[in-house]
Symmetry: C2
Subunit: 142 residues, 2 copies
DNA sequence: TATTAGATTAGAATTATTCTAATCTATATA
DNA sequence: TATATAGATTAGAATAATTCTAATCTAATA
């Protein structure tokens, strides 16, 4: 975290209290928060913070490659402070997102006709499932 | 297509001209249109068609398992008349989406700690790349 | 301490999607 | 074929996520 801050300063990334709060909230956070989750959290300490700041900061961090934007929840984007390529599983009940650090890249060979149409850059596997909590909820309903 | 219509009638799925137009447009369509793409196309033949009808019909077809909703473009949902599980590659330049029918399921084993937290239901691989057209465009810029 | 490029803010705008409630119609049945 | 009606369509409002704007503020530098 301190190294992070030093690194950002070097890069001329101005460190404002709002940005520090966002960085602190994200640091090591494995909950894959949405912009709103982040906004609400930061707002507790900085009541005048705006969504624009949250989105601007997320965009800046994304551009730097420090966070990932996750496209798995059809409702909204989620953000991941772990930029190391990995995969996700989302609960179809409550949208909770889990990390999957398995490396499947060897197996994900693309067919030739695709490679001749697209230059592949990255890949990301979305697993869909039901979390333990939602499994219980389902049973209760039956 | 005719079988499709027969099948829907059996199921009590009322066949309106708007729905037929949507079905015809989707049938065999590999372009992964968005709701707006579909709306614009249908509107040419049925100028009073509404977005609500497009979304309602897509929802109904999704519920029947006849189409897939694709979460790969962070901007909007795309729809796929091919409900057979398969994967996609999206061009990071123009958002064009291609099909990948490779079967990777054997390789996509989840680690135990995930399986004990989530009951897996499905998976979908998003490949990201640059299509030929956008590759050319990039070169032109250099 | 003064300067200023860049950041923050409130609120408006935009975009995708869903909702509402009035009207219409595909289908079943007499 | 005419009628009844459950279900579909519609225009437009509402909602939700995200982006934009332009006025104000401030972190970093000198
Ligand atoms: Mn993650
Ligand atoms: Mn497809
Ligand atoms: Zn859940
Ligand atoms: Zn392209």
């Amino acid at each position: 975290m301190k190294e992070l801050i030093a690194k950002y300063k070097e890069q001329g990334f101005r460190l404002t209290p709002q940005r520090l709060a966002i960085l602190e909230y994200m640091d090591g956070n494995t909950s894959h928060p949405s912009a709103e989750d982040i906004y609400k959290h930061i707002k507790a300490a900085y009541p005048t913070v705006s969504f624009a700041t949250v989105y601007n900061t997320l965009q800046a961090l994304k551009d730097k490659g420090e966070i990932l934007e996750i496209t798995i929840d059809p409702q909204k984007k989620h953000y991941d402070p772990n930029p190391k390529p990995h995969h996700h599983i989302i609960c179809m009940g409550c949208n909770k997102i889990g990390d999957i650090f398995e490396d499947y890249s060897e197996a994900l060979r693309l067919p030739h006709h695709i490679v001749s149409e697209f230059k592949p850059v990255a890949n990301h596997i979305n697993f869909y499932g039901i979390c333990k909590y939602c499994q219980k909820k389902q049973k209760r309903r039956n």
